[in-house]
């Protein structure tokens, strides 16, 4: 086994003066899932487009299974499956015809194409809707058909761009299950998401992207250890009290962060009894609180935490 299936070295992408990707490097070993985490506009889709040969990088190199995405795009295309952010299915064609079309274009004979299509329709529970035009499908069904279409050629590498955005919770979990099964079969996956819990559940390692730059990377455990398992969020009745609230929580042994948008202070807590510590500290300082919550860490917390560390190391 020579090269990792996905290799990205110092990739940049400019749109005019705007840098959508700035010196991004990453590697994904065979059979691994990389979660590419980032807010809207972070550059996730831009990177997926470069890796799937849809647009060339401005600088740097990217290789899929050892093939350069610019110079050997055909070899790359033959080995990847892409499920873009927006379902790319032919609305006029039925689910079956969509899959047969892809299989035929990949070089399957008529019979083999039909067989593969039916196999995938069964797998994704679309058999009943197989003959209906895709435009009559629900959002979840369309997603599944789209994912099925990207698997037709048994790709070695799959790109999933925000596969669960806009799905209801049940469909979301169904999709997670499908991805897990793919990985069991040894497929290498790059998955982009805005949700930490999704990356946590599916990814072997996570790369956090912010404004086109890699700002953190590691396993979910490593990231969460930095962020803290959970966070307590206290919304302040008077936003001007924030400095005092931060001070009070700091004295109580927590490392609070100011969340200006939500007029709140957030602090990583290890167990739910530490919530009491938060309440007590704020109460003792006489700070009125309009809301209190305990949350699983989110991407926001990762960002806040990264910002926090950055300011600490600068000080």
């Amino acid at each position: 086994m020579a090269r990792p299936p996905i290799e990205v070295e110092n990739v940049t992408k400019d749109f005019g003066k705007f840098k959508a990707l700035d010196d991004v490097s990453l590697r994904v070993p065979e059979g691994n899932v990389l979660g590419l985490l980032g807010h809207n506009g972070a550059g996730k889709t831009t990177l997926v487009n470069i890796l799937s040969t849809l647009s060339p990088p401005t600088g740097g190199t990217a290789r899929i299974a050892g093939y350069d995405v610019v110079r050997q795009s055909r070899q790359v295309c033959a080995r990847i499956g892409l499920t873009g952010q927006f379902a790319a299915v032919d609305e006029q064609l039925s689910g079956l015809d969509n899959l047969v079309l892809i299989a035929r274009l990949l070089g399957a004979g008529k019979r083999a194409a039909k067989q593969r299509a039916e196999e995938l329709l069964t797998l994704f529970e679309l058999t009943e809707a197989a003959k209906r035009p895709a435009r009559t499908y629900s959002g979840g069904m369309r997603r599944r058909l789209d994912l099925a279409a990207s698997l037709v050629g048994h790709p070695d590498v799959i790109f999933l761009d925000e596969p669960t955005t806009g799905l209801d919770p049940t469909s979301r979990m169904g999709l997670w299950q499908i991805v897990e099964n793919l990985v069991d079969d040894g497929t290498t996956v790059l998955l982009t998401t805005q949700y930490l819990d999704e990356a946590d559940r599916l990814a072997d390692s996570i790369t956090v992207l912010s404004s086109g730059k890699v700002v953190a990377s590691g396993t979910a455990e490593e990231l969460k250890a930095e962020v803290g398992q959970r966070t307590a969020t206290a919304t302040l009745a008077d936003p001007a009290e924030a400095p005092r609230a931060l001070e009070a929580l700091g004295r109580a042994g927590l490392s609070p962060v100011h969340d200006e948008q939500r007029h709140a202070v957030t602090a990583p807590v290890n167990a739910s009894h530490e919530l009491a510590v938060v309440v007590r500290a704020l109460d003792e300082a006489g700070i009125e609180v309009s809301g209190l919550g305990l949350g699983e860490p989110t991407l926001d917390d990762v960002y806040l935490n990264l910002a926090h560390h950055a300011s600490e190391s600068a000080a």
């Binding site: 040969t53 295309c77 873009g84 015809d97 070089g107 797998l123 994704f124 037709v152 048994h154």
Partner: protein
């Protein structure tokens, strides 16, 4: 259909013994499969064919009824319908090639072209398939129009079946080459509205400042000057020469030559433009 998914297993190695060869179909298969896909959309939704027949049918009715009498004197070729129909063939063919361009943009929005781009196939195949499917559709439309003209308006050109057939071929040739011009515009412009207005702005003056509906002598002086340099005039005249069994001169040859040039230039820019990232 529930949205719940049980855990489907993805193991299916034995079912696809030739998966090692699934690295892209040959170009011929690409074109056949993609053309079939576009044609299937037409068969499934024949409204497209019907609607795009409406405009030429209305024109045929209006023009033959309105101008028919008035122009009888200046036309030497017998009834006005025999004069009009060869022109309608050409203009309908050109209208269809504009629709090809619009259709390409719709496909780009649809997202399915995005998937094609990430497949190991040639973008030229995608465009060629689109043009072939539209050519086939146009061929059927023109046959329907010819039948309607013969049955409803008494179209019976002197050139007979053979002459009509050659005029039909000529209209298809012009349509196919202009399809590539509109595909080229579409793949650079990529906006339906712009495409429609470009087409509209180009088509209408071309259509009326030509010999399509009225003989050049019957046009006001300045308009007949414009019409004389209008390429549509030559395409329409060539179509007439064939169907009306007029002496076939350089008109047909220059129509073939011009179409070939348009085709090559259009194809070059269409493929170049289409390859640009979405």
């Amino acid at each position: 259909m529930t949205s719940t998914l049980s855990a489907p297993s993805t193991e299916a190695p034995e079912s696809s013994p030739d998966r090692a060869n699934w690295h892209g179909a040959n170009v011929w298969t690409q074109i056949v499969v993609l053309t079939g896909r576009s044609l299937r959309a037409v068969v499934k939704d024949p409204r497209i064919v019907v609607f795009s027949l409406l405009q030429p049918l209305i024109m045929l009715t209006l023009f033959s009824q309105v101008f028919g009498k008035a122009l009888m004197s200046s036309i030497q070729t017998g009834s006005y319908i025999n004069y009009l129909m060869p022109a309608i063939l050409v203009t309908t063919g050109i209208g269809a090639s504009l629709q090809s361009g619009v259709g390409l943009i719709t496909d780009m929005k649809n997202g399915v072209l995005g998937r094609f781009r990430a497949l190991p196939i040639r973008m030229g195949s995608v465009l060629l398939a689109r043009s072939l499917a539209d050519l086939f559709r146009t061929a059927v439309q023109l046959v329907i129009l010819l039948c309607a003209a013969a049955v409803l308006f008494g179209f019976s050109p002197k050139g007979g079946l053979l002459g009509t057939f050659s005029a039909w071929l000529l209209a298809l040739m012009v349509s196919w080459s202009l399809t590539w011009v509109f595909l080229a515009i579409a793949s650079w412009v990529r906006k339906e509205e712009v495409m429609q207005s470009v087409g509209f702005l180009a088509m209408f003056p071309l259509m009326f400042a030509s010999s399509a509906f009225v003989p050049l002598d019957a046009l006001p002086n300045w308009l007949s000057v414009v019409a004389r340099v209008n390429p549509l005039t030559y395409a329409v005249d060539a179509s007439r020469d064939l169907s009306l069994a007029l002496p076939v001169g350089t008109g047909v040859l220059s129509a073939v030559g011009a179409s070939a040039v348009l085709l090559l230039v259009g194809a070059f820019f269409a493929i170049k433009g289409f390859r640009r990232p979405l």
